[in-house]
Symmetry: C2
Subunit: 227 residues, 2 copies
DNA sequence: TTTAAAATAGTAGTAATACTATTATAAATA
DNA sequence: TATTTATAATAGTATTACTACTATTTTAAA
C-alpha cells in the first residue's frame, strides 16, 4: 500500500493553495523541473507559464514571486525530512543509532518509503543543494522569519540537536552542531560535484565518504571526553 | 609604518583594472557600501553609478556584471585572509596554536595589522557573510572554476587543511573539515543575527562562542583517538 | 430558469533591470 | 596641426517582474 503524502504548508507561502487545482499542481511539478534545469537565477514565471501552457498572470495568482515559490519547495523538503526523521527513529532506542540514521537521511535523496508525490524528488533534492541557502541569505530574512516561514528548518534543526543532547547531555553546542551538519551535508555534495579541491568526497555519488566524515566529526565532538 | 595592501587579482575578474583609476576605486569603495546596505539582489549598476556620479555604462566598462563585481570582492577577502593566515602563523611552531589562530582569523572582521585599504572592511566582512555563497551557488560555477576564479578560496582551504594534516597526519578528511569550518564560521554568525534558534551563539558579537564551538569540534575530530 | 455576483482566466500594459551600440569628447602621438 | 586612440556619455533594446483591467466561466440566489 502506498500513501499519498500530504504536508501541511504555511498559508503565507502562497496566494492560493497550489495543491487544490490542476494548474497549481502543474506549477509545482514543472517549477521543480525548470529550476533544477536552468538554475534559480535564470528561472522566470514567464518561462514556467509557457512550459505549462498558461499565462504569466496565472502563475502570479498562486505565488507572489519566484522567491516564494523556491521557499515553498525548500520548506516542503525540510518538513518532509523532519517527518522522515521522526518516522525513522521512532522505534529506535539507541541514541547513537538514531544519529547515524539522521546523517543517512540528510545525505540521501528523499526516498518514497513514506509514500509518493507527483513531482521529481531527485530534482527537488538538487534544488535544495544548489539553491536552498538563497531563501534565507536575503534582505528579507527577518521579515520572513517573523512570518514563521523558516519554522520547518528550525524544527528540523531542533530535532537533530535534541538527539545530540540525548547522546551527551553536557555538550553545549547542540544547535550549532545540528545546523552545521545539515549545511555541511549539502555543501560537501556540491563541492564534490563542482569544486573537488574543497572536499575529500570523491564524486557526487560518493555519499559514503560524506557520511563517514560527518559521523566521525559528530561523534568526536559529542564524545564526553572530547577535549 | 603602515603599508598599503596590494593583492594581485585575477585579470579575468574585471574588464579594466579598477585599482588604476579614480573611477575604478570609487566603484570598489561605493560598491562595497551599497551591496552591504541594500543586499546583492537589490543592488544594481545603475544605483551604483548614481551613487558615484557616473553613468551605468561607466561601471560596465570595469565589470562585466554585478556577479563579477561580487566575485571580485569575495575573492579579495579570500586572498587577504590567506595572506593573513600565512603571515600570522609564520613564526609559530605549535600546530595546535596555528589552528587556534586560524579559527580566530576566520571569525573576526579583517583587521588592519597588515596594512590599510581605502574601503570599509567591516562592510566587506558582512558581504562575505551574507552573499559569498552566491558566487559559487550558480549555474556557471564550472565555467568560473575553469577560469580559476575560485583559486583563492581553494588555496585558503588547502592551507587550512594542511594545518589539520600537520596536527594529525592520519586524519582522512582534512579538506572537508576545512571547507566545513570556513562555511560554519560564517553561517553561525549569520544565524546568531537572524535565525537564533539555529545556533548556540547568543548574538552577532558573541564571537567567543563561535570560536569555542569550532575549536572543540576541530580538535575533537582531529584527535588521534577520535572514534 | 433566469440573473446576479463571485471566482477565475487572459490581455495588455508599466517600471525597472541588465545590458549594448552609437556618438561625442578628450588625450596622446605622428 | 592632424589623426589616431582612449575614454566617457547618450540613447537605445530585450527581458524581467510585476499590475490593472477586461473577459469568461462557475456558482448561487430570485
Amino acid at each position: 500500500m502506498k500513501l499519498q503524502i500530504q504536508i501541511k504548508m504555511n498559508e503565507d507561502l502562497y496566494l492560493r493553495n497550489p495543491e487544490q487545482t490542476e494548474l497549481g499542481k502543474n506549477i509545482i511539478k514543472h517549477g521543480i523541473q525548470l529550476i533544477h534545469k536552468m538554475g534559480f537565477e535564470s528561472f522566470t514565471f514567464k518561462k514556467l507559464a509557457e512550459d505549462i501552457g498558461t499565462t504569466e498572470a496565472g502563475v502570479y495568482r498562486y505565488f507572489e514571486n519566484k522567491h516564494r515559490l523556491l521557499l515553498y519547495f525548500v520548506t516542503w523538503y525540510w518538513s518532509y525530512l523532519e517527518y522522515n526523521v521522526v518516522f525513522n527513529i521512532n522505534n529506535m532506542t539507541n541514541p547513537e543509532e538514531k544519529i547515524r540514521r539522521v546523517l543517512d537521511l540528510l545525505t540521501h535523496e528523499l526516498d518514497d518509503s513514506l509514500g509518493t508525490v507527483d513531482f521529481d524528488k531527485k530534482a527537488l533534492y538538487n534544488i535544495v543543494i544548489n539553491e536552498s541557502n538563497k531563501v534565507y541569505l536575503s534582505k528579507d530574512v527577518d521579515e520572513n522569519n517573523s512570518a514563521h516561514l523558516f519554522k520547518p528548518y528550525k524544527d528540523l534543526c531542533a530535532r537533530i540537536a535534541d538527539l545530540f543532547s540525548a547522546y551527551n547531555p553536557n555538550y553545549p553546542y547542540a544547535r550549532s552542531l545540528a545546523s552545521t551538519v545539515i549545511e555541511a551535508a549539502h555543501f560537501q555534495y556540491f563541492f564534490a560535484q563542482h569544486l573537488p579541491r574543497l572536499t575529500n568526497v570523491k564524486s557526487k555519488d560518493d555519499t559514503s565518504t560524506i557520511i563517514e566524515f560527518l559521523e566521525q566529526m559528530v561523534f568526536a565532538a559529542l564524545s564526553p571526553d572530547g577535549k
